[in-house]
Amino acid sequence: MKEVKIKIESLSVSYGNKPALKDVSLNISKNQVTALIGPSGCGKTTFLKTINRLNDFNDSIKISGKVLIDGVDIYSKNTNVTELRKKTGMIFQKSNPFPKSIFDNVAYGPRVNGITNKDELYEIVKNCLIKAAIWEEVENNLYDSALKLSGGQQQRVCIARALAVNPEILLMDEPASALDPLSTARIEELILELKKNYTIIIVTHNMQQAARVSDMTAFFYMGELIEYDKTRKIFTNPSKRQTEDYITGRYG
């Protein structure tokens, strides 16, 4: 049994009167990739944002239940949200590099955290770009604008930027949906490499991608967690009819 990194207990989230997640409970293991699948509006992204409290900025949101990371309730009053967000890097659907150089993008987080030594920063940036499998492509133009890179490269720079603050969890919201198959394959390969050191949760609309990269898959439908099981089981013999209908492309 793998060590539990994130424990969700009876989590319900609503935006005003509109429920987005209904009584969701699940355990996410350390160093595993967990895929969240389901139709648009089923609560996947809300779930993801709940883990690093990105929903805090929405005044109308109501959250009940618990989200525990390493056994600590992240919604308790004592939680330092900045520290929490350092623990959880996030990668979005559309690559969003800052309009700065590749170096400055990756060095941004460490600088905010007070690292000013140039050599130390260079080492951090280099390591993160290596981990994000893009170092060889950018080592000679580190000080060029990140916006000059291709979409796939930009996304990997964003992953490097997320890694630079030493997170333990990576939250990915459709990280390859805007990329061509080759760039997608690179990101997927990277995810499999990164899971050795990070706990990864990925939202994806691409069923094959979920099947390829994840160890566990959670299927959400209208705010409910319908099924959560090993990916191999979900894609060969799901237990619930709704899951089967969704992944096989049938009318629900």
Binding site: I234, F235, T236, G249, R250, Y251
Partner: protein, 232 residues
């Protein structure tokens, strides 16, 4: 079962299912005819079986191509994946049953017409039971009925016993009638082919159980047969 959002996917799966059902009917006829040819030493029927094998081969290729097409274009998962994977194996087993029927027919053509063996061997009862077994196996696929699959597992053990007995009977007859050694050798080959055919019928049923219940029963037959048969 709900329809796929992509209608073409449903059409491809239905086409595959229809072809397999057709293949099932063809091999049922092949095995039935091969048994009739054997029991009645019907050489004309034996020739029909041999020529029909080409038609089975033709549909075998079509089914294989259809499976490839579905994999390449639709990347099936869950129940669809199990169906297409099973279709490949079931198709292969059905084609082999037709090959065995053809082999039996070829051997029938070479048996000495005056050979006195019919009333002394188990072939009559084996033929009846084998045809029933293959029919049940094909039906278990057509109707996706695993209760028939489990019946086949049990029936197979009974048939296997008869085939084993039959082998000993043929060997005894061979010893008593050494002048017909060539024809009796052919009967031994036929006897063995019957065993293989029954085995493939079991294989079809194992796939049906996988397809319908997602349960792998292959190589674990004894876990799925009735206690009575288990002691045999």
């Amino acid at each position: 079962m709900n329809n796929h959002i992509i209608k073409q996917f449903d059409e491809e799966l239905n086409k595959l299912r229809a072809r397999l059902i057709k293949m099932g009917l063809m091999i049922q006829e092949q095995i039935d005819n091969s048994m009739k040819a054997l029991i009645h030493n019907n050489q004309k029927l034996a020739l029909t079986i041999i020529s029909n094998d080409d038609k089975v081969d033709e549909i075998d290729l079509k089914i294989e191509k259809q499976c490839l097409k579905i994999f390449a274009l639709h990347q099936p998962v869950a129940m669809d994946l199990r169906f297409v994977i099973s279709a490949i194996t079931i198709n292969e087993k059905m084609e082999m049953i037709s090959d065995l029927a053809t082999n039996i027919a070829k051997n029938v053509l070479s048996i000495n017409l005056g050979l006195p063996y019919q009333n002394q061997t188990n072939f009559n009862i084996i033929a009846e039971k084998l045809v029933a077994l293959v029919t049940k196996a094909v039906d278990s696929f057509t109707f996706q009925d695993t209760s028939l699959s489990y019946e086949v597992f049990n029936d197979f053990l009974e048939l296997k016993k008869l085939i084993k007995e039959n082998y000993n009977i043929i060997i005894d007859l061979m010893k008593k009638n050494p002048m017909y050694i060539d024809s009796f050798t052919r009967l031994i080959i036929i006897n063995r082919n019957l065993h293989f055919a029954a085995n493939f019928a079991v294989g079809i049923c194992e796939e049906v159980v996988f397809m319908v219940d997602a349960k792998i029963v292959k190589h674990r037959l004894f876990d799925f047969i009735s206690p009575d048969n288990n002691q045999k």
